[in-house]
């Protein structure tokens, strides 16, 4: 479905995840974060960029792997993106929700 955010039309799936990463930019990211009531700090951005990079390299994302990434630890990840951090952070980063298709 289509959605207008930060003055841009983006395509999202039924859970609100971008289906085409090329539609993402930092303004879209900020607007998606605002929807989740998360004001983005420099630390948030470091993590979001890390997640996007991992996605680009086709690395399967998991809380455990992020805890060992050296970019952040799990405790901080939860503080920055409360409740379900991986789901929230990937949505803001414009990348797919990590599949636990197993």
């Amino acid at each position: 479905m289509e959605k207008t955010i930060a003055g841009k039309t983006i395509t999202v799936n039924e859970e609100g995840y971008l289906t085409d990463f090329s539609q993402w930019d930092e303004k879209v990211g900020e607007a998606l974060a605002a929807e989740a009531n998360i004001p983005l700090s420099a630390r948030h951005w470091e993590i979001l960029k890390y997640l996007q990079n991992e996605q680009k390299n086709q690395v399967a994302l998991s809380i455990r792997r992020i805890g060992k990434s050296g970019v952040t630890d799990i405790k901080e990840f939860y503080q920055l993106f409360p409740n379900a951090p991986l789901k929230t952070a990937t949505k803001i980063a414009g990348i797919p929700k990590p599949a636990s298709c197993i």
């Binding site: 799936n13 399967a60 998991s62 809380i63 455990r64 792997r65 060992k68 799990i74 405790k75 990840f77 939860y78 409360p82 409740n83 379900a84 789901k87 797919p96 599949a99 636990s100 298709c101 197993i102």
Partner: protein
């Protein structure tokens, strides 16, 4: 004579020995299977032991009973795999060279990964049912338990048989009903996933069962530690869930052998090509069952389907032919839903389980 060595005489390794013995014969080939255990455990039976549905004799078999004639069985600890030299080092110093190696060393629980899990309450009010000892201790506990808060919990994915904790919750519901004490037990199902199962379609149906049985679900719970004094599990966000009896599925990891050999990922699973089952690092090593890192369920049914394709690929590899990229992640699971009833789900890498009656349910597609 060439050597094909299988590491692990569990479900996956045993199936490979039984397949390959028909194709690779002496004097051209010697097939050897190595395992340090003396017993073959039917692991799905661990689910039934706590509820006195199975007895230990239903689970414990002799390894020899399943190893075909013509296959050499060595009962010894494996110290290391040395892929650069195509050899295995056994405990005690013996070495064994291989031309082809199949790794089927499985996965097991690692409760030490979570602070406090193996603490003062371990096997007092904190139990696992993924080991024989754990399931037996839990049986003894349940025989005399008077009720309270039962929390069924998954630490993190992936785990062996992802439906087993759900089945445990369903069977607990009927167990306490039969004991006429369901009203004294509050059952909570706690998962790191967003819902009851890893597949959205099946989740809808399974969550309906949970509601129907009065089982509360807490999702997106990433455990940080077990508080043995307050008897709570606490997640990274600070959410605490109290328990009187915690039945947890700890982190699952591949065998330490994989770590000792420097061949695993961060959970000791061997990086494996998901369609051919060949090791990503060594052409003459193949991996099947729970030991691999492929994104399929860790279950005997998966090993069963893998074994058929792997047999073909090993024969192709020996003839120098290209491998078939045919493994599709096929799994099927019978799910015990309590009161003597069950349902069957069948899925693979791309197709989700669908609703309907066996064998012709509707068709649908997984969106990942």
């Amino acid at each position: 004579m060439k050597n094909l060595v299988i590491l692990g005489a569990g479900t996956a390794g045993t199936m490979m020995a039984n397949h390959l013995v028909h194709h690779l014969k002496q004097p051209d080939w010697q097939i050897t299977i190595i395992d340090e255990r003396i017993e073959h455990h039917y692991q799905p039976g661990y689910l039934f032991l706590p509820f006195d549905i199975y007895k230990p004799k239903d689970i414990i078999k002799k390894i020899e009973d399943f190893i075909p004639k013509g296959v050499q069985l060595i009962k010894n600890n494996i110290n290391r795999i040395v892929p650069a030299e195509n050899k295995i080092q056994l405990e005690g110093g013996d070495e064994m060279a291989y031309d082809l190696l199949i790794i089927a060393t499985g996965a097991k629980i690692a409760p030490e990964e979570i602070e406090g899990m193996k603490g003062a309450q371990w096997q007092k009010s904190v139990f696992d049912f993924y080991t024989y000892e754990g399931a037996l201790a839990l049986r003894n506990k349940l025989r005399k338990w008077q009720g309270g808060k039962l929390v069924v919990h998954i630490t993190e994915m992936p785990i062996k048989c992802p439906v087993a904790p759900l089945e445990f919750a369903f069977l607990a519901d009927s167990f306490f009903k039969h004991k006429d004490m369901r009203d004294k037990v509050e059952i909570t199902y706690v998962t790191p996933l967003s819902g009851a199962f890893t597949k959205p379609k099946a989740t809808e149906t399974l969550e309906h069962f949970l509601v129907e049985k009065g089982i509360h679900i807490d999702h997106d719970f990433a455990i940080e530690h077990v508080d043995n004094e307050k008897k709570e599990i606490v997640d990274y966000g600070g959410r605490a869930i109290p328990f009187d009896l915690l039945v947890t599925v700890p982190t699952n990891k591949g065998d330490e052998l994989i770590e000792r050999s420097g061949m695993g990922d961060d959970l000791n699973y061997v990086p494996t090509h998901k369609a051919t089952l060949q090791s990503k690092d060594h052409a003459n090593i193949f991996v099947l069952g729970d030991a691999s890192n492929i994104p399929a369920s860790k279950a005997g049914s998966v090993a069963h389907f893998e074994a058929e394709i792997l047999t073909e690929n090993i024969l192709r590899f020996i003839k120098g032919e290209p491998l078939k990229e045919e493994f599709d992640g096929h799994a099927n699971c019978f799910i015990e839903t309590g009161n003597g009833k069950a349902l069957l789900i069948d899925f693979n890498y791309t197709h989700e389980p669908v609703e309907g009656s066996f064998p012709f349910p509707g068709l649908d597609h997984c969106n990942y």
